[in-house]
Amino acid sequence: MNNDANSLENRIKKAKEGQSIEEAKAPKPFGKIMKVVVEIVAAMAVGLGIGLLIDNYFNTRPIFTLIFFLFGSAAGILNVFRVAKSLQNN
């Protein structure tokens, strides 16, 4: 009886250890895609925000908005490259 419970617990422990390690090493595809999309959108939003702030301050709309939106897009691509690299290393 006691022996049975021990072996069951050991098996659960082993199964759990295996799970957590697998999850840690390889995020599921859905998570990966979500990660990449959010990176692009966030960088674009920050670029757009900075551009709008500068334009509102100096009254130069839409010059800086355009420039910083392009910078933001570039930063988004850069972020995606970094995420892809870190995923590959893992």
Partner: protein, 246 residues
């Protein structure tokens, strides 16, 4: 519209005040969101207080669970940050357990998901961002600014590269918070919508019900995965601050 329709997938995200508290014109009421944060905290504490109350060599289930989670985060921090990261372990560990339990408590019917509100996740991400920036400047001095100008870049490209790197740096807290919030919000809405289908279809509702069970399993995975991703990205940002050259 929401009033006359009993099936409203957005209703679960509504904030309601439990105790109205005003302090100097600022609304600091105790809401259902605060209540479920307290629940998450209580669950974390219960896991460790009960799990570690009987320190046996052959662990029981609760003890094993608490030890496994401790080892999991400790290994993650060591892999990502190295030995220098040990000082930040309490923060990283509390962060993981709190988000983990917030996500999981939200999966129980009739509960509230704290992490489905952008302001909550953004408060976390913003705090982490500010803390990591301060740590970076404390550990590296003004040399920390080099992260905005990677070595090996010709000087005439600097006006292009530096703004891009700065925007990339500033986008970190936004992507961190939006990712967690969007996953929780979308997942819980979909669950509620399919639950609504099941009710509306009556006898034919078994078809969406089967799908709901599958979705629920996926949501359980996502709840754990998002807590993990949030924590590991915090570790990566911390590593960037401690070792900006790598």
């Amino acid at each position: 519209m929401a009033a006359d329709n009993p099936i409203d997938p957005i209703h679960q995200f509504e904030i309601s005040k439990i105790a109205d508290i005003q302090l100097g014109g600022i609304d600091i009421s105790f809401t259902n969101s605060s209540l479920f944060m307290v629940f998450a905290l209580a669950a974390t504490m219960a896991l460790f207080v009960i799990g570690l109350s009987k320190k046996s060599i052959i662990p029981n289930r609760m003890q094993m669970l608490s030890e496994l989670s401790y080892n999991f985060i400790a290994n993650m921090l060591r892999d990502q940050v190295g030995d220098q990261g040990r000082a930040y372990f309490p923060f990283i560990f509390s962060l993981f357990m709190f988000i983990f339990f917030c996500n999981f408590i939200g999966l129980i019917p009739y509960t509230f998901t704290v992490t489905s509100h952008l302001i909550v996740t953004f408060a976390f991400a913003g705090l982490i961002f500010i803390a990591v920036t301060i740590i970076g400047f404390l550990k590296n001095g003004l040399g920390y600014l080099r992260i905005f100008y990677p070595s090996g870049i010709p000087i005439f490209l600097a006006p292009l590269i530096v703004p891009i790197e700065i925007i990339s740096y500033l986008s970190k807290p936004i992507s961190l918070s939006v990712r967690l919030c969007a996953n929780m919000l979308a997942g819980h809405s979909i669950l509620k919508i399919f639950a609504g289908f099941t009710v509306m279809l009556g006898f034919l509702g078994f078809a969406p019900l089967v799908f709901l069970v599958v979705l629920y399993a996926l949501e359980t995975l996502i709840a754990a995965l998002q807590a993990y991703i949030f924590t590991i990205l915090t570790c990566i940002y911390l590593n960037d601050a401690l070792h900006p050259d790598h």
